[in-house]
């Protein structure tokens, strides 16, 4: 939960970010807001690719612990 929430942290970053410290959620929101949907889809895909394997790995890890 900590990992996913930190990856998606938006409110604080929106207030404090500069072009040099842009994070992924800011890029995502920017591209959705300017209706550049292809860029937005690309960003969303990056999110998916980063987080889903991590979550799957955590699930498997938890299952292994349970089996033991």
């Amino acid at each position: 939960m900590v990992v996913t929430l930190s990856l998606g942290e938006f409110n604080l970053t929106w207030m404090l970010h500069t072009p040099l410290t842009k994070t992924l959620p800011i890029g995502l929101a920017d591209s959705y807001a300017s209706m550049r949907l292809e860029v937005a889809s690309a960003y969303t895909l990056i999110f998916f690719v980063m987080i889903i394997p991590l979550l799957v790995a955590m699930q498997m890890f938890a299952d292994q612990e349970q089996k033991r």
Binding site: T4, N11, A29, T44, F47, I51, V56, M60
Partner: protein, 364 residues
């Protein structure tokens, strides 16, 4: 270094962070709230001003509805996912947890993509019915967005709680004749109660304070975080927005606290009923039966009345008070015979003899 000072030293970074980023800003906020033209009375504005009050009620109702529907959906899904293994289960759980990573603004945009004026649902309904269905900017669209990011927060807690459930209790209820729905209603859901309260509190607090989704979607509706934002940025009403923020925090905390204490009170009351029920039955041989209102009833339900092996069945006793003695005999018979084993219930003759010995009528 002595142990105690080591512990304090370890807590120091957390204390500094909490003080710097939470306590000091909160104190400044509280002070700012009282600096407006109305002074301290500005804090009552959230209840007194009709527009603020309507917004507050809107927000509380939306958060409550989100919490309830989230709990229902997450419980059903969580129980299934925890108790069944199938290929792709890990990926499915990952996809259900994934929305945690999305900022609220993006969830709002996703709802617009789905149900906005150029949205997918509008397109489909246009082709099917000739009428474009657009609900992204209504309270229903906002509700869907809140549901989307609340489910991940709740489902993990529920799944962990389901994992810890004692299946022996469900087997006991089933073997005593309870229908599957009665097993869920009387054994599983009460046992999951604390998980409901804990995860429901998180979902409620998040829904009350959610800003990003409301920012993107709430054009006609007002929710409290949006009100605070507009007062702060558009009207530069620092005192009002500070007072509203403090009000939001206090109200969210009170709702959660009420839910917690209500859940605790209901559980202790049912234990008293169990004792009262046992007292009414003539052949109950327990030695002390305080009346239902007696404060000692809460203590007696666990220890004195039941033999040690029956502790784990006390939830069943609590919900079937008038049958508690039957249940006691039935379960005590099982324990005397050597505890629960699966093969015991394979033999229908054995099952019937256990039931007959305690003269239990089927519980429906």
């Amino acid at each position: 270094m002595p142990h105690k000072s080591f512990v304090w030293l370890c807590l120091l970074p957390l204390a500094m962070l909490t003080a710097a980023f939470f306590l000091l800003p909160m104190a400044r906020l509280v002070v700012t709230g009282a600096e407006g033209p109305q002074g301290l009375a500005g804090y009552l504005a959230i209840l007194v001003e009709p527009r603020y009050r309507a917004t507050l009620i809107n927000t509380v109702l939306l958060a409550a509805a989100t919490t309830i529907v989230t709990l229902v959906v997450a419980t059903v899904a969580g129980m299934f996912l925890q108790r069944h293994r199938f290929p792709g289960r890990a990926v499915l759980i990952a996809m259900l947890t994934f929305p945690l990573a999305f900022p609220g603004v993006v969830v709002g945009f996703l709802i617009i993509l789905l149900a906005g004026r150029q949205g997918l649902i509008g397109d489909l309904s246009n082709r099917m019915f000739g009428e474009k269905l657009v609900f992204a900017y209504s309270i229903f669209g906002l509700f869907l967005g809140y549901l989307y990011f609340s489910i991940p927060r709740v489902i993990l807690t529920i799944m962990a709680a389901v994992q810890k459930l004692d299946t022996g209790l469900e087997e006991a209820a089933r073997s005593l004749g309870a229908s599957p729905w009665a097993v869920q209603r009387d054994v599983v859901l009460p046992a999951l109660g604390p998980a409901f309260v804990a995860s429901g509190a998180i979902a409620f607090a998040t829904a009350m304070g959610a800003f990003g989704t409301a920012f993107t979607l709430a054009t006609n509706i007002d929710v409290l975080p949006m009100l605070i934002y507009t007062e702060f940025t558009l009207a530069a009403n620092f005192a009002t927005s500070a007072a509203l923020s403090v009000g939001l925090g206090i109200i969210a905390r009170d709702c959660i606290r009420n839910a917690r204490s209500d859940a605790g009170r209901r559980r202790s009351r049912s234990l008293c009923v169990a004792c009262a029920g046992r007292a009414a039955l003539p052949y109950c041989r327990g030695n002390h039966h305080p009346a239902a209102g007696d404060s000692r009833a809460r203590d007696c339900a666990g220890a004195a009345v039941h033999p040690p092996g029956l502790q784990r069945f006390s939830p069943l006793v609590a919900v079937y008070p008038h049958r508690s003695c039957h249940l006691h005999d039935a379960v005590h018979g099982v324990i005397r015979d050597g505890g629960f084993r699966d093969d015991r219930y394979q033999d229908p003759g054995r099952r019937r003899s256990i039931a007959r010995r305690s003269a239990v009528a089927p519980l429906s």
